[in-house]
Symmetry: C2
Subunit: 222 residues, 2 copies
């Protein structure tokens, strides 16, 4: 059985779960506590990070960006990168935007402080880092709101990997209750559409010891 | 004319210059002083970072990973990602390794302290950061040496984007004289092969105000 090594609140892992679901590729998921530095896991992925996908034929595919390009090439029935060169540039540009810039400014601060510290037993969240995260989130939500107001989906007229990447990051933050949706109504509407897709259901059922998501987290109407 | 907005010592920009050269795609290069936050540049790339490639037809392609995937799709005559799915996974895995992990551990420390601070007038290098960089470089050189000893090229039997990515990072560090090549003989031999490729020539002629590369930087025999 195809296996995904992951952490439930990692945006990068959530993206792969969404993409596998959207492409209707069945998989078994295994939670990998990366901070325990399991030698067998390092043998599979010297980077020691999740997500790692292992195919039935034994092919090991690490790193969310590598996995997405791989899945797009190996299972092209549900294309998520667009058709034309220009479309594919815009999809990949936004994927890089969320996975690098949004991650650095926002996700890493909240997930690092509120989730990773708790589950790996490294103390309490640092208020300064969280305040920096809230400040950085405002212009980001404004930009996503601009995209959602002016396009059917974030990268254009078609559902793409840009939507799944953004939704993966926002869903992790939503789990820990750190998004003020009232400030970005178009993002909220777009995210409600994303949440209602079948591939999203497993994410909405996630349970993480010691962290209780807000009531609206799994509510399809918010 | 195809135009690349770049900074001479950015490993990400150097990679694109190498790939354009290897694919024999002529281009004009424009140095973009990103810290000046030129509005016209932000209009092209909201991330405000180099590299940005602008094609003759007006298509704007930002971000080195997006540019590489684009060039591979648009100009497939000189494929740099491998043929089989497994080859492409290994190439992209190593590209991500260098652009994320090696960059975070090593390149960013040296380029940030020795280059960016100088050219943007932000003071002197921080010795602590440089020492962290030297310490982090050792296991990285060991890993690249292991790859170079056991494979013809870093990702396998074929020259690939993994080689150009690694060479781009190492060439930036070599320019500022921060690599002890004697510790990694197989890396040195592999890098000499990379340096002798025609696409490398423009990089070896780079001049950066206030920074003088060591004599061996542009020497094809080291």
């Amino acid at each position: 059985m195809r296996t995904l090594y992951h952490l439930p609140l990692s945006p990068y892992c959530r993206k792969i779960r969404l993409v596998l679901g959207e492409k209707r590729l069945p998989f078994e998921s295994v939670v990998e506590r990366v901070w325990e530095e399991r030698p067998e896991f390092y043998a599979m992925n010297p980077a020691g990070e999740v997500p790692v996908l292992v195919e039935d034929n034994g092919l090991v595919v690490p790193d969310s960006s590598v996995i997405c390009e791989y899945l797009e090439e190996a299972y092209s029935d549900t294309p998520l990168l667009g058709r034309t060169l220009a479309e594919r540039v815009e999809v990949r540009r936004l994927v890089a935007w969320f996975d690098q810039r949004f991650a650095r400014d926002v996700s890493r601060r909240f997930i690092g402080e509120r989730v990773m510290k708790r589950i790996s037993g490294r103390g309490n969240p640092d208020g300064t880092v969280l305040r920096e995260g809230y400040a950085a989130m405002k212009p980001h939500l404004k930009y996503i709101n601009f995209l959602a107001e002016n396009r059917n989906w974030l990268a254009g007229n078609f559902l793409s990997l840009a939507d799944f990447t953004a939704a993966a990051h926002l869903s992790s933050l939503d789990f820990i209750g750190d998004i003020d949706w009232s400030k970005a109504p178009a993002v909220r509407d777009w995210y409600a559409r994303m949440k209602s897709r079948p591939c999203f259901r497993p994410l909405l059922g996630d349970r993480v010891s010691g962290i209780t998501p807000p009531d609206y987290y799994a509510n399809l109407d918010f």
